[in-house]
Symmetry: C2
Subunit: 197 residues, 2 copies
DNA sequence: TGTACATCAGTGAACGCGCGTTCACTGATGTAC
DNA sequence: TGTACATCAGTGAACGCGCGTTCACTGATGTAC
């Protein structure tokens, strides 16, 4: 073959990497295949050698990004490092390399069933991972806290990104971080109104 | 004139109402003007009698929706009614009539400066309104808590909408609601790690 | 009272453009004999 | 060793389509005289 072994896989992964950046930066609907392929250093037509459709690419790309986020949370270890990273100025200012959820969650809700199912599975995994970091409470209670924490983090990042005022944006990150750390703090008891376990 | 007085204003508001629903349902990028005008019972061309451009409509529409949300929070009164409404199954299942932030916040971050500035102003107002409902803490601390609460609520609603599993979606709403109520509870002291009040 | 003209919200066809997708083709390499 | 053919990642022009936007026109009413 005129390309070394594994070349096609490399190219495919390269397209996914480029697309992952563009989708998070511009949104799935606004990011065109032509632009992605040009960025990847290829022409239009080569796209369909690697993917069945744009929806197919979106799905692959999402899974890839979510796996990266999972790895980063794992790499951050047991402390509050992952939370501080998630609610950092850096993450706010680089949606293209960050968690796909704040950038794309509203669009994901409108995507085909297959993609939503795959997304749901990964998010469920993330929730489990976050829950496993909590020390207090039953499994169920910790999972509920993990959902609230993830919701808080994605909403905070989005709000900080949408707002046009640097000072306000920084304050939003700080406010979200304060609460997130309180939720995550294993030694403190977060007051949860229906105290069930 | 061949139309009664105020007819044009009525039509304009009707287009805004229809557009507000479509934008929240399908996203700004995916909702076309032709569809909106057809829904409004008019033809393509009439659009530019009322608005300068799609961006102009988006801005007007956003402001209109945010004003409605503010009124609903005011109408819900001092208790936790507004929070329960925001994190309800009803709000999750009807993005088209709900708060525009969960539906559009990622797109808002990519909109023209004028729109983002107007959005920022309204969100700032919402934060002040939420903060004014808290009893404990300094103005600044209450505003930070209000930002965290709004971030939590929008993130929770989005996650509940994106996920493809009804049971998980309900649990996400419950988890978010628990934490939101804890944050809002005026009598409890939410542990905020740097306790500056 | 009757006629000519101005007004203007709305019509509907058309504009150029970029979208996702298709497809005949290229050309460097590997394989067969 | 040399020639004929197969492979296949990538090329680049073209497809129909819906987008946001423009514009000459309509027609019901109000105004002028």
């Amino acid at each position: 073959m005129r390309y070394e072994k594994g070349h096609k896989d490399t190219t495919r992964q390269h397209i996914i990497d480029v697309a992952a950046r563009r989708f998070r930066q511009d949104g799935v609907a606004a990011a065109g295949l032509a632009g992605i392929m040009t960025d990847a250093g290829l022409t239009n037509g080569a796209f369909y050698t690697h993917f069945k459709s744009k929806d197919d690419l979106v799905c692959e790309t999402l899974m890839n990004s979510l796996d990266t986020i999972r790895e980063r949370i794992l790499a951050a270890g047991q402390g509050d490092g992952a939370i501080r990273e998630y609610l950092s100025v850096k993450h706010r200012d680089r949606p293209d390399t960050g968690c796909p959820t704040p950038a794309l969650v509203a669009e994901i809700a409108r995507l085909p069933k297959k993609t939503r199912t795959a997304y749901t599975e990964r998010v469920n995994g993330l929730i489990d991972l976050i829950a496993s970091r909590f020390r207090n409470g039953s499994d169920e209670e910790r999972r509920r806290r993990a959902m609230a924490l993830y919701g808080l983090m994605i909403g905070t990042v989005q709000l900080a990104r949408a707002v046009n005022d640097k000072k306000l944006s920084d304050q939003i990150l700080e406010g979200g971080l304060e609460l997130a750390l309180a939720v995550a703090d294993r030694s403190s008891s977060i007051p949860m109104p229906p105290p069930e376990d």
